[in-house]
């Protein structure tokens, strides 16, 4: 029951994927966060009362569209989406890792987890 070298390689790749995902998203959020504070720093703001965010900040496509037009809150939200995408990318990568090992039971298990994640992120859940 020893760990084969292939397994170790997979773990190193997953480790790097997670590290880079977090670093890149933190970089985007930090840069756009400073930009946000330069623009809005002196405006009073608290979060005492919940009023749902604008529609275009509430979907992946809306965020991407706003970020492309360099709208500051959208770029922050895009950075947060990169962070949310990091574990999703990890799951997607694991599908290939299990395929290489020809472990079909786990290919299906991982695909099922990926499907649940995409169901949540693509907004399909809005229809329930």
């Amino acid at each position: 029951m020893s760990r084969d070298p292939h397994d170790a390689q997979v773990e190193i790749t997953i480790g790097n994927l997670l590290r880079w995902g977090v670093m890149i998203s933190a970089g985007v959020v930090l840069a756009s966060g400073i930009w946000y504070l330069v623009l809005n720093g002196s405006v009073p703001r608290d979060y005492r009362h919940f009023h749902s965010e604008a529609q275009d900040l509430r979907s992946v496509s809306g965020v991407l569209n706003g970020a492309l037009h360099l709208s500051c809150p959208h770029v922050i939200q895009f950075g947060l989406l990169l962070l949310i995408a990091t574990p999703v990318a990890r799951v997607a990568f694991t599908v290939f890792a299990f395929m290489k090992e020809r472990d079909w039971t786990f290919v299906w298990i991982t695909l099922l987890v990926l499907a649940i994640l995409l169901f949540s992120l693509t907004g399909l859940q809005r229809h329930i």
């Binding site: 480790g15 590290r19 608290d46 809005r126």
Partner: protein, 278 residues
């Protein structure tokens, strides 16, 4: 407070919570929500959304380090993630329907449990393979690095663990936390997985579980960039610093103090929820 002052305060508080959370192993996310709601008056839904995002940051950051050391078990993690992600989707959907007072009370109870779990003595018995035929079938049994080479371990009561993981996922989606304490309960107590393997695998799973509820939070408008930004950056910076500190004797004292602080926040949270203040 203007936006700049507010962001600086939130970032500093989040950094402190992240630092202590990483140092004590309790996780920073779990104390941010009570601090934001009780001390800074943030609406519970915004607090939950911002905390969830920071949970993904810390768990992915920590998992990147753990996975290299060979303690975490990807097969166990992936199999149980079926339960946690479905639970998280259900929990996040319930969160959008449940009143804030109910959420606050549940939050307080989970917080109390987490505080108790963090100071509890850990047993480290190892089961042999063949404990549960399902674990053999799924090849969940594995080894972890010990001082004298790899130590083999078997996995028990897979179905019970799977059920508990559904509960852990639901709490995560409901409250925007990693619910690491419940995940460790399922793996450590129910499935008999060695402590080091269960804590690192749980950390590995937290990010995936949180990503499953994040989509629902996003579409309901719980994730607001102006608040999530300082929380995420603060928690990440704090927990990276905390993880670098060596675990020494002082940590035991610190863990106890932090546990008491968390318990106090938990009681305040339950009280505020019951009194309808949130």
């Amino acid at each position: 407070m203007n936006t700049l002052e507010f962001s600086v305060v939130v970032c500093a508080v989040s950094a402190l919570a992240g630092f202590l959370g990483a140092l004590t192993g309790l996780g920073g996310g779990v104390v941010i929500t009570p601090v934001l709601t009780l001390l800074l008056g943030v609406d519970l839904r915004y607090a939950i959304g911002a905390t969830l995002v920071s949970v993904i940051a810390t768990s992915s950051g920590a998992a990147a380090a753990y996975v290299r050391e060979g303690f975490s078990n990807i097969r166990i993690g992936m199999f149980l993630e079926i339960a946690t992600t479905i639970g998280a989707v259900v929990g996040a959907m319930l969160a959008t329907r449940a009143p804030a007072s109910t959420l606050a009370i549940i939050f307080g109870v989970v917080l109390l449990y987490s505080a108790w779990e963090s100071v509890r003595q850990k047993s480290d018995r190892i089961h042999s393979a063949g404990c549960d035929p399902l674990a053999d079938k799924l090849r969940l049994n594995s080894t972890y690095p010990g001082p004298n080479g790899p130590i083999a371990y078997g996995v028990c009561r897979v179905k019970t663990g799977f059920g508990l993981m559904f509960g852990a996922g639901m709490l995560s989606g409901l409250l925007g936390i990693g619910s690491g304490a419940v995940k460790v309960l399922a793996m450590d107590r129910a499935m008999g997985i060695p402590f080091k393997v269960s804590t690192t695998t749980s950390n590995f799973m937290i990010g995936v579980t949180a990503a499953a509820s994040a989509g629902i939070y996003l579409s309901r408008g719980y994730i607001t960039p102006g608040l999530a930004m300082p929380v995420m950056l603060g928690v990440l910076a704090g927990s990276m610093l905390g993880a670098r500190q060596l675990m020494g004797a002082k940590v035991r004292v610190l863990r106890l103090v932090f546990g008491v602080v968390v318990a106090a926040l938990a009681i305040e949270m339950i009280y505020s929820g019951a009194a309808g203040k949130l």
